[in-house]
């Protein structure tokens, strides 16, 4: 079974600064997706960024980028120029491309942004 580990229950960052959230996963699969989801107080699940395992290039979405280390099974999220609106729970998630395509989530990291 796949497992996703987020070792940082909580992180803080000063507005306009950069923060990195960590995620490791365990799988024997070679073909999969990795995601970072943001869950603000509204509890909506918002996709931040996704990475396909077969792509070596790290995904980027504006201020959000990942450091995908496939051999190390590591998938960290870097948020640059942090904004107050970035404050939320962030979940790392793994999806194995099989019949079902279910997502497995990590425990989450609460990100606090200080003004």
């Amino acid at each position: 079974a796949q497992t996703v580990t987020q070792s940082q229950p909580e992180m803080s960052v000063q507005e306009a600064e950069t923060v990195t959230l960590s995620c490791t996963y365990d799988t024997s699969e070679s073909d999969y997706y990795l995601f970072w989801y943001k869950q603000p107080p509204s509890r909506q699940m918002i996709l931040v960024i996704r990475q396909e395992a077969y792509k070596q290039q790290n995904a980027t979405e504006n201020r959000f980028s990942v450091n995908f280390q496939k051999a190390a099974k590591s998938f960290s999220l870097k948020i640059s120029d942090s904004q107050l609106g970035d404050a939320a729970m962030y979940f790392c998630a793994f999806l194995r491309l099989t019949y079902g395509n279910k997502l497995v989530f990590g425990a989450g990291t609460i990100l606090r942004v200080k003004s």
Partner: protein
């Protein structure tokens, strides 16, 4: 385009009652997923359907059942409700096997409170 629609958004039930949650996927999405998120927890996969057939099953209690209908909407039926069933229930949809585009689209969730 309309996103994933879940109803009701909020539901309050007594112990031992029955509840039904509905999910309407994005147009032309043939796969539906159900997740349960307890307070302070990460979302847990319950069950998924592809083309009206169950495609994967997670930690769904025997008291729960679900199905996907011909119009691809899905319903999650929960019977003999327990206090521990109080949670946010997410539905997500995607295009299915073989044409999966790497993204699950989440609804806003249905919050069930069992008293």
């Amino acid at each position: 385009a309309a996103g994933v629609i879940q109803s009701p958004r909020h539901l309050i039930k007594e112990k031992r009652e029955t509840a039904t949650l509905k999910c309407y996927p994005i147009s032309r999405h043939d796969t539906v997923y159900w997740y349960q998120q307890g307070p302070g927890q990460d979302p847990q996969f319950l069950i998924s359907f592809y083309e009206k057939m169950q495609s994967d099953k997670g930690s769904i209690p025997d008291r729960f059942s679900a199905q996907q209908f011909s119009d691809y909407h899905s319903e999650l039926n929960m019977s003999s409700l327990e206090l521990g069933d109080s949670a946010l229930y997410f539905c997500a949809s995607s295009k299915g096997q073989g044409v999966f585009t790497g993204e699950l689209f989440f609804g806003e969730g249905s919050r069930l409170t069992v008293l």
